[in-house]
């Protein structure tokens, strides 16, 4: 579980995050949503330890990141997996080498053992016969799957995803969402997804954190979201005509 206490983050005079208190639960898909400029990416980068909070703490299973020494912070980071928006796969490496990378860096496994694990995770994300291809030779959806495989290959305790289905067609986007949710359940990990895809919100949002202008504006599950009377949240989530109809149907209990 990740506990966020009074998190502030400023760049110069500009305060991006203005005192966020929330929790991200183990075994659940936790979503951070909000309009562009709401502070989602900065929040995610604080969770990843890429940005140091100006004030406040982030606790991972009760341990505040800022209270750990550099060595322990590194150890903690090795328990994190990250799926970047663009995949962030290493262009000069094959798919197998990309997925094997965290194992090569942090374990003492032999090449055969590492290869078995690579095959296992690639199989898990439904990718076959791509081991020797380069990232540029596969589709965007496949690249996202490889990024997920790389993020989970070292059995992380925390999985972070930045817009995991951006740029994907709706069908592939749902497949990716479901894959992330299944992996979260199977491995009982704490997954945090940064998204503004409302399909994802209504499909896999077990714990949703809604940010507005750097503040936590709402927190709840996908089943609670349509009952919310927070006007900015409902305007944001149900912005299209289709989603407005979906909300009406949800309110009617259909």
């Amino acid at each position: 579980m990740i506990q966020v206490n009074n998190l502030h983050k400023s760049f110069g005079e500009e305060e991006i995050l203005k005192g966020i208190n929330t929790q991200f639960y183990q075994g659940k898909t936790n979503l951070i949503i909000g309009q562009s400029g709401a502070g989602k990416t900065v929040f995610l980068k604080c969770l990843l330890g890429l940005f140091e909070p100006t004030e406040g703490t982030i606790e991972y299973n009760g341990q505040a990141y800022s209270s750990l020494d550099a060595e322990k912070q590194r150890d903690l980071r090795q328990k994190m997996g990250m799926v970047f928006q663009g995949g962030a796969l290493f262009d000069s490496m094959t798919i197998a080498e990309n997925v094997m990378f965290p194992l090569k860096m942090f374990t003492k496994q032999k090449k055969g053992e590492m290869m078995n694990r690579v095959e296992e995770v690639l199989e898990r994300v439904d990718l076959r016969n791509v081991n020797n291809k380069f990232p540029s030779e596969i589709s965007g959806g496949m690249q996202k799957r490889v990024a997920i495989a790389r993020a989970i290959v070292n059995k992380p305790e925390y999985l972070f995803c930045d817009e995991p289905n951006s740029g994907l067609d709706p069908k592939t986007a749902i497949l990716i969402d479901n894959l992330i949710q299944e992996i979260t359940k199977e491995n009982d990990i704490t997954t945090v997804i940064n998204t503004h895809d409302m399909n994802s919100v209504l499909e896999i949002g077990e714990n949703i954190v809604y940010l507005k202008n750097g503040n936590l504006a709402w927190n709840g599950s996908k089943d609670e979201i349509y009952k919310s009377e927070d006007e900015s949240l409902t305007n944001f989530v149900y912005s299209s005509e289709l989603f407005k109809k979906v909300r009406k149907a949800q309110l009617k209990g259909l």
């Binding site: 890429l50 663009g86 962030a88 290493f90 262009d91 965290p102 860096m105 942090f106």
Partner: protein, 245 residues
């Protein structure tokens, strides 16, 4: 103020490069790859330029020696001194700032744009060490490139001088050995060592801290070339003043 900030940031980057080390077995592979990319792949252009510039220096010297009292062996002496003292260490380094420097800036800059450096950091890897340290180690082989450049440059001088009919072979070889000061070679290789560090780190700095997209990668490469050249020229002056005056 911006220049002071950049200089400070450059030294912070260097501190980070020599901070927490990447796993030795991984680092070994990266170093061999960088030796291939930065050193071996540069040999062709270095040999080509050195041979012909050596030849041109010889022809120009020969054409300017009209006085019959000046021995023809001076042609070889001049070529040797020009090539060892200045052409190979400095001129080739400026060319390498374009070739190797732009390679380093664009490869690291592209990784920054594509969030690959963030990916390394998130995994708990010291990205500066992983990306830049192997390049610095690979560039420590740069003096070998310069040694080859010196040899080929003098071979080019011999070919142009002797085969072009400007000087007899024996006179050329005599001139090549006349008043040879071995410290000049030491001076040249000390310069080359410093130039290697400059060639590896300044372009790396411009790539590592770049912001923006693909267009900015191109701009960063150009800026890196300009600043690497400026620092090379200044370092050349300072080292010459310290070592030869």
């Amino acid at each position: 103020m911006k220049y002071l900030h950049d200089i400070g940031e450059y030294f912070i980057m260097l501190k980070k490069v020599f901070g927490r080390m990447t796993k030795t077995s991984v680092l070994r592979g990266l170093i061999f790859k960088e030796i291939d990319d930065l050193i071996i792949s540069s040999l062709g252009i270095v040999i080509f330029i050195s041979f012909f510039i050596g030849g041109v220096v010889t022809i120009q010297t020969a054409l300017n020696l009209n006085n019959p009292l000046i021995p023809k062996s001076l042609i070889a002496f001049t070529a040797r001194q020009s090539i060892i003292l200045e052409f190979s260490p400095t001129f080739i380094s400026i060319i390498m700032a374009g070739k190797v420097g732009s390679n380093i800036t664009s490869s690291i800059g592209t990784m920054r744009v594509m969030e690959q450096i963030d990916a390394l950091e998130v995994m708990g890897i010291n990205s500066a060490n992983y990306l830049i340290f192997p390049k610095i180690i690979a560039m420590l082989f740069y003096p070998f490139v310069i040694a080859i450049s010196m040899f080929v440059g003098i071979a080019g001088a011999y070919a142009a001088g002797v085969l072009g009919g400007f000087v007899a072979g024996e006179q050329f070889l005599n001139g090549l050995q006349n008043d040879f000061i071995s410290f000049h070679l030491v001076y040249a290789f000390i310069k080359t060592f410093f130039f290697a560090i400059i060639l590896a780190t300044i372009p790396a700095y411009h790539g590592y801290y770049m912001k923006g997209g693909a267009l900015e990668v191109g701009k960063a490469s150009t800026t890196a070339f300009v600043w690497t050249s400026v620092v090379l020229i200044l370092a050349n002056y300072l080292l010459t003043q310290l070592l030869l005056s």
